[in-house]
């Protein structure tokens, strides 16, 4: 597995499988923050120490395998071009923070892209595991096993009362951030999501859009994650998150049915117009593309649009990000050039479906 392989496909191999509740939940992710006990955290550590950690991971884990996650590719961030970094960020394989780091920052990515480890980000070690659909329990147990596997060789910074010690006090304890990516077009259309957010926040969970800034969620894709990492066991954090997600799924399904019953023709109109825009545009901005893709995906889920694969939303949301477009063009592009290329890639992808 090479870097080129990660760069060429917009959607990761694991995303092709359909997980539970795949009509609404795109993916489940567990992230664990860990540190070496005897080295200061990256924010303050000597470059030499961080370099040793980088070397340690290269020596011990490059091309290693953990169960079905085979042949870990080891990539040093400093060896990547700006465009390559953006692509890895857009695929959510690494964080924007890691991409900005120079020096000893690195990553390990399994060939199915389901597991990645970020090295010398805010913490020395950040383990990330993805599962398609709603599979938090499975993702957690896999993440904890993987954590044990790393711990065989790493002396973790752990304290009996405070738990896993992390650079930021918001991660201490379990060091775990569990998140679920959901497509909630009907809750967004009816503005119900805004009313639900405060209640969700009160449970120690956060809802935010993953594309776009502020309260706006491009493509109606929302991420729900836990805020609290201290004082609750991993399993309980997951249970709370899962129960909120289940409720959101139910509300979304109800809202979809209601819209379909009350204004079916308007909804159908909206969905087909969006499909038309995607099929015929010559210039399309990311916002409009996201809006149309969300509508088309809803159309697929409701059986209004047939013969187009569900993956179109995740795939084209990633494929039409600036980094990917420029990787495809093999050069930097102005925003207008990007809008033109975006339109042409979307058209191509949709034709491929027919």
């Amino acid at each position: 597995m090479t870097l080129q392989h990660f760069m060429n496909e917009a959607i990761s191999p694991w995303m092709r499988e359909q997980g539970p509740n795949h009509d609404i939940v795109l993916s489940s992710r567990i992230r664990l923050a860990r540190n070496f006990a005897d080295v200061p955290f990256p924010i303050i550590a000597d470059q030499k120490d961080l370099e040793k950690i980088r070397e340690f991971f290269k020596e011990n884990y490059e091309h290693s395998s953990f169960e079905e996650h085979q042949n870990f590719e080891f990539i040093s961030i400093r060896d990547l071009t700006a465009i390559e970094k953006s692509v890895l960020v857009e695929k959510h394989l690494i964080s924007p923070l890691l991409a900005k780091k120079e020096g000893a920052a690195a990553t390990l990515i399994s060939d199915n892209e389901q597991v990645s480890v970020m090295i010398n980000e805010e913490d020395h070690i950040r383990i990330q595991i993805y599962f398609p659909g709603l599979q938090l329990t499975k993702a957690l147990s896999k993440a904890l096993e993987f954590d044990d596997w790393i711990e065989e060789k790493v002396n973790y910074a752990f304290d009996e009362t405070r738990g896993f010690l992390t650079s930021c006090p918001t991660n201490v304890g379990t060091g775990m951030r569990a998140s679920v990516m959901m497509h909630l077009p009907a809750l967004a259309m009816t503005k119900q999501i805004n009313r639900m957010m405060p209640a969700i926040n009160q449970l120690g969970l956060v809802v935010r859009g993953i594309y776009g800034e502020g309260s706006e969620a491009l493509g109606n894709i929302f991420q729900i994650s836990n805020q609290i990492t201290l004082g609750k066991a991993e399993e309980h954090i997951i249970e709370d998150l899962e129960s909120v997600v289940q409720q959101l799924i139910e509300h979304e399904r109800k809202a979809r049915t209601r819209i379909l019953e009350q204004s079916g023709i308007e909804l159908e109109n909206r969905i087909f117009r969006s499909l038309g825009v995607l099929e015929y545009s010559r210039i399309i901005e990311s916002k409009e593309a996201a809006r149309c893709l969300s509508n088309v995906r809803l159309g697929i889920d409701l059986g209004i649009i047939k013969n187009v694969s569900r993956n179109i939303l995740n795939e084209l949301m990633v494929l039409t990000q600036p980094g990917f477009l420029q990787h495809y063009a093999k050069k930097t592009l102005t925003s207008t050039e990007r809008d033109i290329l975006r339109a042409s890639l979307i058209r191509e992808r949709l034709q491929f479906e027919e």
Partner: protein, 180 residues
């Protein structure tokens, strides 16, 4: 609406700047926004969690300075050199040892960030946790033992008591092994 800067492309971004109480609105296209530094490469950069956090930490710790008192030497982590005021400023710890160094001041912070919690209840690392697993198991067995005695189920209680003894012996053995 066209971009205020280049007057060529359509303005897609609207910024409101407030400088000394003067409000100015800028309507600008993406290209100019990047050139003029309104935008950063990664969206996450614009929104800084740790700014919010450091805001959280800056509360009165109940330490009142009396006029004329000497400036106290600041609490500093012996391992990484981070001082408590630096910690409050950046909102990040410098190393694991900081958690011990600043321990006395951390509970209010953790309580705010983690809904009132200050102690870990989750995973204990398999290898490093060592006898900690066993200690936790003993606590569970002891509670069980109490209950069995209360219910006068002495036979079962004896079994649990033996299990506790076994675990305790195990711990002693492990700790003796660790300190060599």
């Amino acid at each position: 609406m066209e971009c205020h800067e280049c007057h060529e492309r359509p303005a897609t971004l609207h910024y409101t700047q407030v400088v000394n109480g003067h409000k100015t609105e800028v309507k600008i296209c993406e290209v100019c926004a990047k050139e003029k530094g309104y935008m950063t490469t990664y969206p996450e950069e614009g929104y800084s969690l740790h700014n919010l956090l450091t805001g959280l930490f800056n509360f009165d710790t109940g330490h009142v300075k009396t006029p004329g008192s000497h400036i106290q030497k600041e609490h500093q982590c012996p391992k990484c050199g981070l001082t408590f005021s630096e910690f409050k400023q950046i909102g990040k710890f410098g190393c694991g040892e900081c958690y011990h160094t600043f321990s006395a001041n951390l509970n209010p912070i953790f309580r705010r960030v983690h809904s009132g919690n200050t102690e870990h209840r989750g995973k204990i690392p398999k290898r490093k946790g060592g006898s900690l697993h066993l200690k936790k198991q003993i606590v569970i067995y002891k509670a069980e033992l109490q209950e069995l005695i209360m219910n006068e189920e002495f036979e079962q209680a004896a079994v649990i008591r033996d299990k506790i003894k076994e675990l305790e012996a195990n711990i002693n053995q492990k700790e003796a092994g660790d300190s060599k």
